[in-house]
Protein backbone atom coordinates (compact mmCIF):
# COMPACT_ATOMS: atom_id res chain seq x y z
CA UNK A 1 0.00 0.00 0.00
CA UNK A 2 2.76 2.45 0.92
CA UNK A 3 4.61 2.21 -2.43
CA UNK A 4 1.29 2.76 -4.22
CA UNK A 5 0.63 6.15 -2.59
CA UNK A 6 3.66 8.01 -4.07
CA UNK A 7 2.81 6.73 -7.56
CA UNK A 8 -0.75 8.11 -7.48
CA UNK A 9 0.14 11.75 -6.63
CA UNK A 10 2.62 11.82 -9.52
CA UNK A 11 -0.22 10.75 -11.82
CA UNK A 12 -2.51 13.34 -10.21
CA UNK A 13 0.15 16.04 -10.46
CA UNK A 14 0.84 15.34 -14.12
CA UNK A 15 -2.87 15.23 -14.92
CA UNK A 16 -3.48 18.48 -13.09
CA UNK A 17 -0.43 19.99 -14.79
CA UNK A 18 -1.86 19.00 -18.14
CA UNK A 19 -5.30 20.25 -17.19
CA UNK A 20 -3.91 23.55 -15.94
CA UNK A 21 -1.85 24.01 -19.10
CA UNK A 22 -4.83 23.14 -21.26
CA UNK A 23 -6.90 25.72 -19.40
CA UNK A 24 -4.16 28.30 -19.81
CA UNK A 25 -3.66 27.65 -23.53
CA UNK A 26 -7.36 27.53 -24.27
CA UNK A 27 -8.23 30.73 -22.44
CA UNK A 28 -5.23 32.81 -23.50
CA UNK A 29 -1.92 32.56 -25.34
CA UNK A 30 0.52 30.95 -22.88
CA UNK A 31 3.55 33.03 -22.00
CA UNK A 32 6.51 32.13 -19.81
CA UNK A 33 4.82 33.75 -16.80
CA UNK A 34 1.65 31.72 -17.34
CA UNK A 35 3.67 28.52 -17.61
CA UNK A 36 5.47 29.20 -14.33
CA UNK A 37 2.27 30.05 -12.45
CA UNK A 38 0.40 27.05 -13.83
CA UNK A 39 3.29 24.81 -12.85
CA UNK A 40 3.27 25.97 -9.23
CA UNK A 41 -0.52 25.76 -9.17
CA UNK A 42 -0.21 22.22 -10.51
CA UNK A 43 2.31 21.36 -7.81
CA UNK A 44 0.01 22.74 -5.13
CA UNK A 45 -2.92 20.84 -6.56
CA UNK A 46 -0.81 17.70 -6.82
CA UNK A 47 0.17 17.96 -3.16
CA UNK A 48 -3.45 18.54 -2.17
CA UNK A 49 -4.52 15.46 -4.13
CA UNK A 50 -1.64 13.53 -2.57
CA UNK A 51 -2.72 14.34 0.99
CA UNK A 52 -6.38 13.82 0.07
CA UNK A 53 -5.57 10.41 -1.37
CA UNK A 54 -3.67 9.43 1.76
CA UNK A 55 -6.51 10.59 4.00
CA UNK A 56 -9.22 8.76 2.07
CA UNK A 57 -7.11 5.59 1.87
CA UNK A 58 -6.52 5.78 5.60
CA UNK A 59 -10.24 6.30 6.25
CA UNK A 60 -11.16 3.37 4.02
CA UNK A 61 -8.63 1.08 5.69
CA UNK A 62 -9.72 2.07 9.19
CA UNK A 63 -13.35 1.57 8.21
CA UNK A 64 -12.57 -1.93 6.99
CA UNK A 65 -10.49 -2.66 10.09
CA UNK A 66 -13.30 -1.42 12.35
CA UNK A 67 -15.81 -3.56 10.47
CA UNK A 68 -13.51 -6.54 10.94
CA UNK A 69 -13.21 -5.71 14.64
CA UNK A 70 -9.50 -4.85 14.56
CA UNK A 71 -9.74 -1.07 14.94
CA UNK A 72 -11.84 1.13 17.18
CA UNK A 73 -15.01 2.69 15.78
CA UNK A 74 -13.85 6.04 17.14
CA UNK A 75 -10.67 5.90 15.05
CA UNK A 76 -12.66 5.05 11.92
CA UNK A 77 -15.13 7.87 12.60
CA UNK A 78 -12.32 10.39 13.15
CA UNK A 79 -10.54 9.26 9.98
CA UNK A 80 -13.66 9.38 7.81
CA UNK A 81 -14.68 12.81 9.16
CA UNK A 82 -11.18 14.14 8.47
CA UNK A 83 -11.19 12.61 4.98
CA UNK A 84 -14.53 14.31 4.32
CA UNK A 85 -13.15 17.66 5.48
CA UNK A 86 -9.94 17.12 3.49
CA UNK A 87 -12.02 16.55 0.37
CA UNK A 88 -14.03 19.70 0.97
CA UNK A 89 -10.87 21.72 1.68
CA UNK A 90 -9.17 20.49 -1.49
CA UNK A 91 -12.30 21.25 -3.49
CA UNK A 92 -12.65 24.73 -1.95
CA UNK A 93 -8.98 25.59 -2.55
CA UNK A 94 -9.12 24.35 -6.13
CA UNK A 95 -12.28 26.37 -6.79
CA UNK A 96 -10.66 29.47 -5.32
CA UNK A 97 -7.47 29.02 -7.34
CA UNK A 98 -9.40 28.48 -10.57
CA UNK A 99 -11.54 31.53 -9.81
CA UNK A 100 -8.41 33.59 -9.23
CA UNK A 101 -6.86 32.33 -12.46
CA UNK A 102 -10.03 33.11 -14.42
CA UNK A 103 -10.14 36.59 -12.91
CA UNK A 104 -6.61 37.28 -14.10
CA UNK A 105 -7.40 35.86 -17.54
CA UNK A 106 -10.49 38.02 -17.88
CA UNK A 107 -8.45 41.08 -16.97
CA UNK A 108 -5.96 40.34 -19.76
CA UNK A 109 -8.60 39.81 -22.42
Amino acid sequence: MIPAIPSIPSVGASESLGAAQATTSSSAAGTATDAASSSSFANMLGQAIDSLNGATNNATNLGLEAAAGNASVADATVASTEADLDTQLASALTDKAVTALNTIMNMQA
Binding site: D75, T77, V78, T81, E82, L85, D86, Q88, A92, D95
Partner: protein, 137 residues
Protein backbone atom coordinates in the same frame (compact mmCIF):
# COMPACT_ATOMS: atom_id res chain seq x y z
CA UNK B 1 -0.67 14.29 15.99
CA UNK B 2 -0.37 17.60 14.34
CA UNK B 3 -3.23 17.54 11.91
CA UNK B 4 -5.03 20.58 10.59
CA UNK B 5 -8.21 19.04 11.98
CA UNK B 6 -6.98 19.10 15.59
CA UNK B 7 -10.50 19.92 16.77
CA UNK B 8 -11.44 16.41 15.69
CA UNK B 9 -8.21 14.65 16.65
CA UNK B 10 -8.21 15.88 20.25
CA UNK B 11 -11.74 14.71 21.17
CA UNK B 12 -10.80 11.53 19.30
CA UNK B 13 -8.14 10.83 21.92
CA UNK B 14 -10.75 11.51 24.61
CA UNK B 15 -13.14 9.01 23.08
CA UNK B 16 -10.30 6.49 22.93
CA UNK B 17 -9.50 6.89 26.63
CA UNK B 18 -13.17 6.76 27.62
CA UNK B 19 -13.57 3.57 25.61
CA UNK B 20 -10.68 2.04 27.59
CA UNK B 21 -12.30 3.26 30.80
CA UNK B 22 -15.65 1.68 29.91
CA UNK B 23 -13.84 -1.53 28.94
CA UNK B 24 -12.09 -1.69 32.31
CA UNK B 25 -15.38 -1.08 34.16
CA UNK B 26 -16.99 -3.82 32.09
CA UNK B 27 -14.18 -6.20 33.06
CA UNK B 28 -14.51 -5.29 36.74
CA UNK B 29 -18.27 -5.83 36.80
CA UNK B 30 -18.03 -9.05 34.80
CA UNK B 31 -15.43 -10.52 37.18
CA UNK B 32 -17.05 -9.20 40.35
CA UNK B 33 -18.30 -12.64 41.42
CA UNK B 34 -15.24 -14.71 40.54
CA UNK B 35 -14.99 -16.76 43.72
CA UNK B 36 -11.72 -18.57 44.41
CA UNK B 37 -10.39 -20.72 47.21
CA UNK B 38 -8.69 -18.37 49.73
CA UNK B 39 -4.99 -18.11 48.94
CA UNK B 40 -5.48 -18.60 45.20
CA UNK B 41 -4.89 -15.58 42.93
CA UNK B 42 -8.09 -13.53 42.82
CA UNK B 43 -9.22 -11.10 40.12
CA UNK B 44 -7.77 -7.63 40.64
CA UNK B 45 -9.95 -4.71 39.63
CA UNK B 46 -8.51 -2.53 36.85
CA UNK B 47 -8.48 1.25 37.01
CA UNK B 48 -7.46 3.53 34.13
CA UNK B 49 -5.11 6.41 34.84
CA UNK B 50 -5.50 9.16 32.23
CA UNK B 51 -3.22 12.13 31.65
CA UNK B 52 -2.52 14.94 29.24
CA UNK B 53 -0.64 14.00 26.09
CA UNK B 54 2.85 15.44 25.99
CA UNK B 55 4.07 16.53 22.59
CA UNK B 56 7.56 17.97 22.02
CA UNK B 57 7.18 21.70 21.40
CA UNK B 58 3.43 21.30 21.50
CA UNK B 59 2.85 24.12 23.94
CA UNK B 60 -0.39 25.95 23.30
CA UNK B 61 -4.09 25.39 23.34
CA UNK B 62 -5.38 21.88 22.98
CA UNK B 63 -3.68 18.67 23.93
CA UNK B 64 -5.04 15.19 23.63
CA UNK B 65 -5.47 12.78 26.50
CA UNK B 66 -3.89 9.36 26.84
CA UNK B 67 -3.99 6.33 29.10
CA UNK B 68 -0.89 6.65 31.27
CA UNK B 69 -1.33 3.41 33.15
CA UNK B 70 -3.80 0.76 34.18
CA UNK B 71 -3.49 0.21 37.92
CA UNK B 72 -4.92 -2.82 39.64
CA UNK B 73 -6.83 -3.19 42.85
CA UNK B 74 -5.82 -5.19 45.93
CA UNK B 75 -4.32 -8.64 45.30
CA UNK B 76 -6.09 -10.18 48.28
CA UNK B 77 -9.86 -10.34 48.04
CA UNK B 78 -12.56 -10.30 50.65
CA UNK B 79 -13.45 -13.53 52.47
CA UNK B 80 -17.02 -14.72 52.70
CA UNK B 81 -18.34 -17.68 54.62
CA UNK B 82 -20.03 -19.98 52.10
CA UNK B 83 -19.38 -23.65 52.97
CA UNK B 84 -21.65 -24.96 50.18
CA UNK B 85 -19.49 -23.31 47.51
CA UNK B 86 -17.37 -25.93 45.70
CA UNK B 87 -14.26 -23.75 45.97
CA UNK B 88 -14.66 -23.14 49.73
CA UNK B 89 -11.65 -24.07 51.89
CA UNK B 90 -11.69 -26.21 55.04
CA UNK B 91 -13.00 -23.28 57.11
CA UNK B 92 -15.88 -22.78 54.62
CA UNK B 93 -14.53 -19.48 53.32
CA UNK B 94 -14.36 -18.30 49.70
CA UNK B 95 -12.47 -15.25 48.40
CA UNK B 96 -14.13 -12.62 46.18
CA UNK B 97 -12.42 -9.78 44.26
CA UNK B 98 -12.60 -6.31 45.79
CA UNK B 99 -15.03 -4.66 43.37
CA UNK B 100 -17.65 -2.20 44.61
CA UNK B 101 -20.58 -2.29 42.22
CA UNK B 102 -21.80 1.15 43.32
CA UNK B 103 -18.44 2.75 42.56
CA UNK B 104 -18.23 0.95 39.24
CA UNK B 105 -21.70 2.14 38.23
CA UNK B 106 -21.00 5.78 39.10
CA UNK B 107 -17.70 5.50 37.21
CA UNK B 108 -19.62 4.06 34.27
CA UNK B 109 -22.01 7.02 34.24
CA UNK B 110 -19.01 9.35 34.32
CA UNK B 111 -17.25 7.46 31.53
CA UNK B 112 -20.37 7.42 29.37
CA UNK B 113 -20.98 11.15 29.90
CA UNK B 114 -17.35 11.89 29.08
CA UNK B 115 -17.57 9.76 25.93
CA UNK B 116 -20.69 11.64 24.83
CA UNK B 117 -19.08 15.00 25.65
CA UNK B 118 -16.06 14.17 23.51
CA UNK B 119 -18.28 12.99 20.67
CA UNK B 120 -20.22 16.26 20.96
CA UNK B 121 -17.01 18.33 20.79
CA UNK B 122 -16.03 16.34 17.70
CA UNK B 123 -19.41 16.95 16.10
CA UNK B 124 -19.33 20.69 16.79
CA UNK B 125 -15.73 21.00 15.56
CA UNK B 126 -16.77 19.27 12.37
CA UNK B 127 -19.70 21.69 11.98
CA UNK B 128 -17.34 24.62 12.55
CA UNK B 129 -14.89 23.37 9.93
CA UNK B 130 -17.80 22.84 7.54
CA UNK B 131 -18.88 26.45 8.08
CA UNK B 132 -15.49 27.85 7.06
CA UNK B 133 -15.34 25.49 4.08
CA UNK B 134 -18.81 26.49 2.93
CA UNK B 135 -17.61 30.03 2.20
CA UNK B 136 -17.65 30.33 -1.55
CA UNK B 137 -16.35 33.43 -3.22
Amino acid sequence: MSSIWSGIDIPGTGVEVDQTWIDSIGGNVANMNDAVTPGQPVYQAQYVEAGEQVEPGGAGAGMGVQVNDVTVGPASGQLEYDPTNPVANAQGDVEYPVVDLGTEMTDLVQAQTSYQANAEVMSHASDAYQAILDIKA
